[in-house]
Amino acid sequence: MTVDTPAAPTAPLLQLEDVRMHFPVREGLFLRSTRSCRAVDGVSLQLRAGETLGLVGESGCGKSTLGKCIVRLHQPTAGRILFEGTDLAALGQAALKPWRRHLQMVFQDPVESLNARHTVGEIVAEPFVIHGEGDARERRERVLGLLEKVGLPAAAADRYPFEFSGGQRQRIGIARALALRPRLLVCDEPVSALDVSIQSQVLNLLLELQRELGLSYLFIAHNLAVVKHVSDRIAIMYLGRIVELAPADELYASPRHPYTRALLSAIPRPDPRGTRERIVLQGDVPSPISPPAGCPFHPRCPHATDRCRVEAPALRAAPGRPGHTVSCHLDL
């Protein structure tokens, strides 16, 4: 997908360089911080204008934390977050404000992310108020335009969130995120709280908006079928690190990392005649407070060798596969 952007088409809109987010773990009698939880542990990736990058992983892998670092709801512990060449991680709150309009977030839970005491009109207009845009009448007009864009009637503006279903509330959240005409939307599990028949409505809306507005998405989710449907490229995350990144079709056709293979084989397919081998991983995801030495996946990996137990693999290009990177010592 190509979009008209001021930057050259090859320059990334967003570039992460070795981003780390370590939370202190306070414990003991005096709640001293003795250890840290390495939620995001050295992530580097690029997102091009107009592109959707899917970010997949299981609970606790750090995918949501990474999303929050990008929109600077978290201040990352280390690393650079370059948005059109400017390092957002180095900016203070005041310097950051003009940038915030370009990066917005859509949250998973459309109940908790909307203020129940505000009308939908007030919720969607809040970004204008915060950024001092327009007068009351102009804001109202733009709110109605946004509601129409996400498929809600104008009358919705004067009603409260509880009057809407889950799918409609997610549309309200999307309208708010679009208010300041952002370049990048970080969508954190935007459809996982919705019923199947409503999910497809919201996914269609996100795809339409992308085509119409040239938006870039970081699409965070655990449902691989959903992620594949919307993404151009997909990154697989495990214990705070990217273990594999590839164009969407390529990743599904020839996954290289044993974790990606297990994930793909674990998805229940809606086909009762399916006869595929399921790779059932043993054990649980280790804690990011005390991640295993060497490759973070080695305790669950069916192919682990001695080298995997001591040496952490770096993300490297998969031989002969353009745009496909994987962090595994083994050439599977």
């Binding site: 299981e58 609970s59 279903s165 889950g166 799918g167 019923d195 199947v196 028949s197 409503i198 999910q199 497809s200 409505q201 996914l203 269609n204 795809l207 655990h222 691989l224 079928a225 959903v226 594949k228 449907h229 919307v230 993404s231 151009d232 969407a248 079709d249 599904y252 297990a262 994930l263 793909l264 084989s265 674990a266 998805i267 229940p268 397919r269 809606p270 086909d271 009762p272 005649r273 399916g274 399921r278 059932v280 991983l281 649980d284 995801v285």
Partner: protein, 335 residues
């Protein structure tokens, strides 16, 4: 209990007939389940699928007689199990069946377990209620059960509290409790929804292995069509409190007859589908229980609606063991 192969009519061990369950609320009496019937066969898995509010969980709670009190009530119908009607059974007799002959697995293992008791005590309690008076014997049986569901070092785990276990381990404990007394039927309400996919695969595999070993009948309630396709023999599709379609799993996925079933199957993104293509949708949303349309409840979202749909369609046979409640199933275009 012995494993069984081919199902026969006499293999029906739980039969639900015309179940009607209502809730008394501030806005009056709402009918959450409206005339639902199905049979559960020994050694087979029956899946009940549907979206929020379709009545699938209320059906499960009705079978167990665990409806929230005093609002929830079974207004009609029979729940026949081992020669008795659970819908009218006195509470004292119910206690013997619940957790004994019928096991339960709920969605969120953390809420199904007592957070302030070690899991060993909770697991032994099941045996003390149904099998033995000897606490040491109950503890030993509990340890054995944990081993059977694949928990490493069960002797140590018995002394731990639920919060010390991971989500997948907790669900294994809940499964161990449900299977402790070798029930004839297990009712599992979204047993893997709160779990990650790799852990879900472990739990589904475990349930299937235990089912093979014990000849269990399973009622699996889920919204996930993938889980249904991979684990169930028979399927019931529910919509707004009624059965829209039921039949063998292959028939439901290969030859869905009801427009709602077709819509559901068409709207899920598939791994083999074209990326970024427009997904088919079911327009609109599920009607609330307060404003259900007269006649077919799917009519306001149905692309095939005609005047006839203002009268409620009955379930009719559309194939071997396959029924659908649609006036127009014969006229629908092939998929």
């Amino acid at each position: 209990m012995t494993p069984v192969d081919a199902p026969a009519a006499n293999d029906v061990i739980l039969s639900v007939r015309d179940l009607v369950t209502t809730f008394d609320t501030d806005v009056g009496r709402l009918t959450a389940v409206d005339g639902v019937s199905f049979d559960v066969r020994r050694g087979r898995t029956l899946g009940i699928v549907g979206e929020s509010g379709c009545g699938k969980s209320v059906t499960a709670l009705s079978i167990m007689r665990l409806l929230p009190q005093p609002m929830g009530r079974i207004q009609g119908g029979r729940i026949l199990f081992e020669g008795r009607d659970l819908a009218t059974l006195p509470p004292a007799e119910l206690h013997r069946i619940r957790g004994g002959r019928i096991g339960m697995i709920f969605q969120e293992p953390m809420t199904a377990l007592n957070p302030v008791q070690p899991i060993g005590r909770q697991l032994s309690e099941v045996f003390l209620l149904h099998r033995t008076r000897d606490t040491a014997d109950a503890w030993r049986r509990g340890t054995e059960m944990l081993r059977k569901v694949g928990i490493p070092a069960p002797e140590i785990r018995m002394h731990e509290y639920p919060h010390q276990l991971s989500g997948g381990m907790r669900q294994r404990v809940v499964i161990a409790m449900a299977l402790a007394c070798e029930p004839a039927v297990v009712i599992a309400d979204e047993p893997t929804t709160a779990l990650d996919v790799t852990i879900q695969a472990q739990i589904l595999e475990l349930m299937q292995a235990l089912q093979r070993d014990l000849g269990l009948a399973v009622v699996l309630i889920t919204h996930d069509l993938g889980v249904i396709a991979e684990t169930c023999d028979d399927v019931i599709v529910m919509y707004a409190g009624r059965v829209a379609e039921s039949g063998p799993v292959e028939a439901i996925f290969d030859r869905p007859a009801h427009p709602y079933t077709r819509g559901l199957l068409d709207s899920i993104p598939r791994l083999e589908g074209t990326r970024k293509a427009r997904l088919r949708v079911i327009e609109g949303m599920v009607p609330g229980l307060r404003d259900l349309p007269a006649g077919c409840r799917f009519q306001n979202r149905c692309p095939h609606r005609v005047d006839r749909c203002a009268t409620a369609p009955a379930l009719e046979a559309v194939g071997p063991g396959h029924e659908a409640a649609c006036h127009r199933w014969r006229e629908l275009p092939p998929r």
